[in-house]
């Protein structure tokens, strides 16, 4: 069966390492914070200028001057730092964030990502996404494998305007965990009960299926 949002977040959380600085995008990526493995400590970066994002506040703690990049009220954990947008993106652009997790509309075999603009629809803007994908070496894209009407989002070539070119190496969908290497998706893990055949059928871009595709367990 396809992974739930929570399972996707749990799977991504396995890529965390102790001491990582991590930027989590809006949606499923945000949930990853709930599944940091026991005994491990990571520091969450929020691109509006907060390193060391804490829990949401209690009613009493709410402070309009303390928000995250999703414009939600948050708290800062002990050892947090707060800085300007220029400093925040110096950090991001300079490659200091260890792991970035974000959603997308499409990803292709060249590591291109499209996540911000659908021609003909009103464009709200890219926010910090272009900086995040250009600045990070280590990115995990989380998205459904296919659209609601069954169109694959893992393509030979992105059809939508790009957010970044050649910057994605890892994708977690509701069906599979894949790496992008040498012009192809490489299937590494499949969701519990999802067959390799189904993943093949739902992947439009060139797909390599090694002999040792693992079934995820939760």
């Amino acid at each position: 069966m396809a992974l739930s949002r929570e399972q996707m977040a749990r799977r991504v959380a396995r890529e965390l390492k102790d001491g990582y600085y991590v930027n989590l995008g809006i949606g499923i990526p945000t949930l990853v914070a709930n599944y940091v493995p026991e005994g491990m400590d990571v520091m969450l970066q929020s691109e509006n200028g907060l390193l060391g994002m804490g829990a949401f506040p209690s009613e009493a703690e709410i402070d309009a001057d303390m928000i995250n990049a999703g414009k939600q009220t948050v708290t800062a954990r002990p050892g947090a730092s707060i800085f300007s947008s220029a400093e925040s993106f110096a950090m991001i652009r300079g490659g200091h964030v260890d792991l970035t997790v974000l959603g997308a509309f499409e990803v292709d075999v060249e590591g291109n990502i499209a996540s911000w603009m659908i021609p003909g629809k009103l464009v709200k803007g890219m926010g910090g996404a272009m900086d995040l994908v250009a600045g990070a070496d280590n990115i995990i894209v989380t998205m459904t494998h296919a659209s609601k009407d069954g169109e694959s989002k893992l393509l030979q070539r992105c059809s939508l305007p790009l957010t970044g070119a050649g910057c994605i190496r890892r994708v977690l969908t509701d069906l599979a965990y894949l790496e992008i290497d040498n012009g192809a998706f490489v299937l590494r893990e499949r969701a519990p009960g999802v067959s390799v055949e189904e993943i093949v059928a739902r992947t439009a871009g060139r797909l390599i299926v090694p002999d040792d595709v693992v079934e995820m367990t939760f």
Binding site: E47, N48, E59, D65, M66, S85, A86, L122, G125, L162
Partner: protein
């Protein structure tokens, strides 16, 4: 306002000289750390044809959104503008031009504008619509695009505390774009919650040195919250 003393008493005085067609740089992220009263004063002055540079454009009825009501903004340079029905309508009607800029590039363009750097290279946006018409150049095997600095006629800034000399500190994440915007205005105006005597702010802890600041005014702030989120 005389010599190093940047204090002014009225919002009218704070934005004296702001006229039609000028470029205004505004601090804030969403509704957090926005110069609420300076925005209100821009509205009151009914100046038109403004180019506004800010990460976002407020919401309907608050923040920069209020400047849309009388069609005061001709062009908006921002990274994300999705929270505003009036904005969308004016954009679709062609009354408003928008230049979407990646958030980090926007911050760096403003910093560059204040720091005498006319242009810089960044990998952000390479291979995307943002790169259209921009020079591409390779450094050490990677491709980058050339981005030019932004500066403005006025910068409007929301600080927490300032002293008479215009030294400013910001509170929590209300800092955001405010310090970079403050460096890039020909005239930089800061509104704050508290004005303190020179010497009360620790020199090493000042976020915006007074050299960037032309006018300081004491304001009262609503501080509207966009996404009130609490833990269970």
């Amino acid at each position: 306002m005389a010599g190093l003393d940047k204090r002014v008493n009225t919002y009218e005085e704070a934005l004296a000289g702001l006229t039609d067609g000028m470029t205004v740089l505004a601090g804030g992220f969403g509704l957090c750390g926005i110069p609420e009263n300076l925005i209100a004063e821009i509205r009151r002055r009914r100046v038109k044809g403004l180019t506004v540079v800010s990460n976002n454009c407020g919401i309907d009825g608050f923040g920069l959104g209020v400047l849309l009501e009388e069609r005061q903004i001709r062009k908006m340079i921002a990274s994300y503008v999705g929270e505003n029905a009036l904005f969308e309508r004016q954009l679709l009607d062609g009354e408003l031009e928008v230049e979407l800029t990646p958030q980090g590039t926007l911050a760096e363009k403003l910093r560059a504008g204040g720091a005498g750097i006319p242009a810089f290279y960044t990998a952000t946006g390479y291979g995307t619509p943002v790169a259209e018409g921009k020079e591409v150049r390779e450094f050490r095997g990677r491709r980058y695009i050339l981005e030019e600095a932004i500066s403005g006629d006025f910068a409007i800034v929301k600080g927490w505390k300032a002293d008479h000399f215009g030294n400013v500190v910001y509170r929590h994440t209300a800092q955001n774009f405010n310090p970079v915007v403050a460096t890039a205005g020909r005239i930089t105006v800061v509104e704050v919650e508290e004005i303190v005597e020179p010497g009360e702010l620790e020199p090493s802890q000042i976020h915006t040195p007074g050299i960037y600041v032309d006018r300081v005014i004491l304001g009262h702030f609503e501080k509207r919250i966009e996404q009130r989120t609490v833990r269970a």
